[in-house]
């Protein structure tokens, strides 16, 4: 293992310290917990938005704490859901009396830990609700799985629900718009290479020189199948094809696109991918009104990318274009 770390056990702690040092204007640490909240938390008169999950997805989720997006982010151990007591602290720190919405990615561990935190907060009289993001079309949503995974589409939930909360909307309204995003967002990814969890010390899986993994999750968990490396256009065509098979788009509809790097993919390659995504959508007569390209929901140093498409209506579009001022996303 070749990593710029001190000791594996301290990675999350030291990363959080580094983030607070870098962005004191945005962030502060909840003392004694792996929780980052807005520097001015709790923000009076608005619903608090809390997300989180295992670490290793930076800039998710702490990087999106700030005006127009999240109020708090909980950092678990690398690729491991945070514990209920940590989530509970985040809820308490951001609640201004208007309630808190939890944005959870659909993994058994995340759902159970956040659920336990909700029970703890409800016991304290805090009004808390949750949404569960499941945008990954790689895995079938059937009675045989726990449902789709939550991956990069989560960033759109943070952006749009965050913008809604900023307007002073009540908890049920913020939840409703978050659910609207979830119903209209789809993603799929692929990996060229694995990643190494610091505490594990070796790669989560091994791919041969010419092998790629299709439908990768963001935790080094295996995808749906492996195949031989193909061109960027062919791979992109396959991923977008899966997305469109699941969420058909009609001529004239508007979408936002996120081409997300998994950590070790050069922006050059992400732009090559985006070129193809834009072409496919254009050929369908679909209008791409906003595109994000970069590292938003990573998987440590994994090489690969995911494509996310969000179908917009006028409400989602307006909230997507609303201002955001966070360490990892600034939009004016």
């Amino acid at each position: 293992m070749k990593k710029i770390i001190n000791v594996p056990e301290q990675v999350v702690e030291e990363m959080l310290e580094g983030m607070v040092s870098a962005y004191p204007q945005y962030l502060k640490r909840v003392e004694g917990f792996d929780v980052l909240v807005r520097a001015n938390s709790p923000v009076a008169g608005k619903v608090g938005l809390v997300s989180g999950g295992g670490s290793g997805h930076e800039p998710s989720h702490g990087g999106f704490v700030g005006r127009g997006m999240l109020d708090g982010a909980v950092a678990g151990a690398v690729f491991t859901s945070p514990t209920p007591d940590q989530v509970y602290e985040a809820i308490k720190a951001v609640d201004s009396g208007n309630g808190v919405l939890l944005v959870i990615k659909n993994y058994s561990g995340d759902v159970m830990n956040f659920d336990m935190a909700m029970e703890m907060a409800a016991g304290e009289g805090i009004s808390v609700d949750k949404v569960i993001v499941d945008d990954d079309v790689a895995v079938e949503n059937s009675t045989w799985t726990i449902g789709r995974r939550g991956i990069a589409g989560t960033v759109f939930v943070h952006k749009i629900a965050g913008a809604k909360a900023e307007t002073g909307a009540a908890l049920p309204e913020v939840k409703a718009v978050a659910e609207k995003v979830i119903a209209n967002v789809r993603s799929m990814g692929m990996a060229l290479d694995s990643c190494t969890v610091p505490a594990a010390g070796k790669p989560s899986f091994v791919l041969e020189e010419n092998e790629i993994e299709i439908g990768m999750g963001i935790h080094g968990e295996p995808g749906t199948h492996r195949e031989t490396l193909r061109s960027a256009d062919e791979i992109t065509d396959h991923l977008v094809g899966k997305i469109l098979a699941d969420m058909p788009l009609n001529k004239g509809e508007e979408v936002a696109v996120l081409v997300n790097g998994l950590g070790a993919t050069p922006l050059m390659e992400l732009f090559v991918v985006n070129r193809k995504v834009a072409e496919i959508l254009k050929n369908k007569g679909v209008s791409t009104v906003k595109t994000y390209v970069g590292n938003y929901m990573t998987s440590l140093e994994m090489a690969g990318f995911s494509v996310t498409i969000l179908k917009l209506d006028s409400e989602l579009k307006e909230l997507l274009f609303a201002q955001a001022d966070t360490p990892a996303l600034v939009q004016f």
Partner: protein
């Protein structure tokens, strides 16, 4: 096993920590490769908590402490599941200092119910329940047949071991392994394995104290 809950739990913790790599490797094959790491971190925290709790506490208090510690230190799916299991097992054992067959059966039943509720899982989905439920059934059979606590534990361990083997033959429908579909066949479930390891350690501990 009088007054020895503390030591039994310490032994279980040590075994889990020793199997850190083994459990992590099992998880890397079908999950996200952190089961051993997370469980070891949890039981390292448990060891510290037990030290400050003292050795003179009743079984229920020890179980409750272990459960709370696991919930707040393991994370992932195992944290809430094992945490809930130990917390639930605390209820029937509060105020008891000696483990008898009846209490052990009640504890196991409460733990299993807790895991089912928290994880919304049933037997046959390639989870820890595939080790624990057969273990419970075998324990009860032994108990009905008037066998000793240790004999009942032996039957339970054997059933749990077979349960772990059984998980190799079935498709995962819960947890991250469920995304693999058919590809999860041939691999034993890490959670079922850690459950078996805990029961086996308890048995060995009880035998050594006999």
């Amino acid at each position: 096993m009088s007054g020895s809950t503390f030591e039994a739990l310490a032994a279980i913790g040590q075994t889990i920590i020793r199997n850190r790599q083994f459990l992590t490797d099992l998880d890397a094959a079908i999950g996200d490769g952190d089961h051993g790491i997370n469980m070891a971190r949890g039981f390292e925290a448990v060891a510290v908590k037990l030290q400050s709790l003292g050795a003179d506490k009743d079984i229920g208090t020890v179980m409750k402490t272990v459960g709370m510690t696991l919930v707040s230190s393991v994370g992932g799916a195992s944290g809430p599941l094992y945490g809930t299991a130990f917390l639930r097992a605390a209820s029937p054992s509060l105020g008891k200092y000696e483990l008898d067959k009846e209490t052990a059966a009640l504890m196991l039943a409460a733990a299993i119910t807790g895991i089912k509720e928290r994880g919304k899982a049933i037997r046959g989905e390639k989870t820890m329940l595939d080790a624990l439920e057969p273990a419970y059934d075998a324990f009860i059979e032994g108990s009905v047949a008037e066998k000793s606590l240790i004999e009942c534990l032996e039957l339970a361990c054997e059933a749990a071991k077979q349960g772990v083997e059984f998980t190799k033959t079935i498709i995962a429908t819960k947890g991250r392994a469920s995304y693999l579909g058919e590809r999860s066949i041939g691999h034993q479930d890490p959670g079922a394995t850690s459950s078996y390891i805990m029961l086996q350690t308890l048995l060995e501990f009880a035998r050594a104290r006999e």
